[in-house]
């Protein structure tokens, strides 16, 4: 994977599913609710359209916009906590088929390191969200497939 700026976090998980199913899990609001710990992601996924993570706390939704959308391969968006930091942070998700599994690479960059609380929340949050997503798509099986 090629990066234009130095990413702060890169996460990879292999999920035994199809790119289409995984894409649906990433982009359909009802599905996102199932693994995002009560938060819900909403967007029409057109480039430039608004992107929102509705959290359980009112007025604390995370908002940004869609940067790239190429189903079922590439998704990229920005967001920031409403009423919080000025700074927008960027997430890029790449899906690649590796035989019976899909490799999901999530890159998070443009983080404001001054905002330590947000920063540590992110570093602890993505592995939990991704492992939830994996269990959900694999039907709760603890299988960890490894492509060659």
């Amino acid at each position: 994977m090629e990066a234009t700026s130095k990413p702060k976090f890169v996460y990879v998980t292999y999920i035994s599913t199809t790119p289409e199913k995984l894409w649906e899990a990433l982009t359909k609001a009802d599905f996102t609710e199932k693994y995002w710990f009560g938060s819900r992601i909403e967007s029409d996924w057109k480039v430039g359209s608004p992107f929102t993570i509705h959290t359980e706390v009112p007025d604390k939704d995370w908002k940004g916009k869609v940067l790239q959308c190429d189903p079922p391969r590439l998704l990229s968006y920005t967001f920031r906590v409403s009423g919080g930091a000025e700074h927008f942070t960027r997430v890029t998700i790449l899906l690649e088929q590796h035989g019976p599994v899909v490799k999901l690479t999530l890159t998070h960059d443009e983080l404001d390191e001054k905002d330590v609380k947000f920063f540590t929340g992110i570093s602890g949050g993505w592995p939990a969200v991704l492992s939830n997503l994996k269990s959900l798509l694999e039907g709760g099986s603890p299988l960890v497939p490894r492509p060659c």
Partner: protein, 108 residues
Amino acid sequence: MDNVFKALADPTRRKLLDRLHAENGQTLGALCEHLDMTRQAVTKHLVLLEEANLVVTVRKGREKLHYLNPVPIHEIYERWIGKFERHRLEAIHQLKTILEEKTDGSDE
């Protein structure tokens, strides 16, 4: 999951993960600086870590950057730790950290 445990069962590889935990996105050269071993030996360890999906690499221009990928470790955590045990485990961990004056779980 076998390759995750195998990769973790070596002090040098755990040290490499510690170094990436302290500073994510390092080149091979930067990782070699604090280790008393050849580049080839460090490369071998990094390959094993990559095969276990504990390290992920990203190309940026001519550089190859290494990132700690904690997702497989999180899967181990999810597998054996119950939902209601988490707060108590955190409390025990904090107690141990304070008493032992360590900020992480490193071997040193």
